[in-house]
Amino acid sequence: MVVESLPTGVVMVDRAGTIVLVNRETERLFGYRREELVGRSIELLVPGRLRSGRDLSGVRKDGSDIPLEIGLNPVDAEEGSFLLASVIDIGSGKRAEEELRRSNEELERFAYVASHDLQEPLRTVSSYVQLLSRRYRGQLDADAVDFIDFAVGGVRRMQQLIEDLLAFSRVGTRGAPLVPTDLQAAFEHTLASLHAALDESQATVTADPLPTVVADAGQLAQLLTNLIGNALKFHGADPPRAHVGAERSGRMWTISVQDNGIGIAPEYFERIFVIFQRLHAREEYAGTGVGLAICKKIVERHGGRIWVDSAPGRGARFSFTLPAATE
């Protein structure tokens, strides 16, 4: 019988709830041999007390619980009517998901606490090195001044790294609820906050009419700020230009930020979204390599994805998807 080798547990019960047939997968799932099951009540495998709402649990022979998904099909045969149930163990997937969620939460908590506690000793180092330079200025030779500058530079960089790590961890821990949010307003807000950088780089930033999406407004502005900020930062010989586009596909909007900057080689398309990954020397472009990692985390929190299309010298287009606010 084909039922025997199905990868799904199959149990057939009569109208009284007595098991009349089980397959091999059912034996494996519950840890019983079929002789132990046939003729017994279905209560043995799926006790009524565990059947609540959509969450269904069975009990193995060893007494442990097993979260189940059960599909029921009535079967009418000459001998009477039966119920054919297909049984799937959903525990392994659910457990892995739960563990992942917990470990992510712990990581975020750790990053947050560590960031605060790490800042304090760092501040002490930086203060006293600067105090040395302040107090003994004029008595120090050029080497000593250089050494102090390196020490202070190192501390500043560490402070920036910690702050960025904190910002990264906050995407998960400090997010606001996802509600219908005007992308146009977020875009205008972003331009206002980038005002100084826009002026300085003589940049032109344009946009299509932008839709309403389901999002956390603060994180949406942060996302646009990081992407448009990158467009300004990684500019080529011409003054930077950036355009924000919007295109609807089904229930999602694809938002893109196109620039005319230095571009990115395809082999780095994945790597740029990983935290602390950078493609340039610090003297060329400042930064800690956190901006795009934050973008990715924000987009994924909204159930979307982010990617880049680019070629060296040909500008870059960063695109991400966000759920539309209206059907």
Binding site: E120, S126, S127, Q130, L131, R134
Partner: protein, 144 residues
Amino acid sequence: MAMASPPIEILLVEDNPADVRLTLEALKDAKVANRLHVARDGVEAIRALKDPGSATPRPDLILLDLNLPRKDGREVLKEIRQDEALRHIPVVILSTSQAEQDIVQSYRLGANAFVTKPAEIDQFFQVVQSLEQFWLAVAKLARP
């Protein structure tokens, strides 16, 4: 002829010795004569303020850190504001925190100002000097 007024007494409640020394260094250049007394945690601070046998004179100004061992700055502030003999003393919160919640809570508990310790030393010195300038020179302190 104006009489030289007695030096301003400042109580600094701070557990980090590096920050204590830094505040001391910044106050060295102060134009108004002052004496800095230090309590290393909240319990020590309350003892310095309330114990009749305390070696610390009653301060004219209190600089208070929020996160302290044993008894934290919020509790110290609350006790100061509940004490008839101490409640007139200006309390300036000097903390690394920038959290909105810490700021709001401190003012609700009766802080006179909330100052975040800057990371850059020039700014730190500036902050201490402007505190000094305002509280020791501009403002008139109650010295009952």
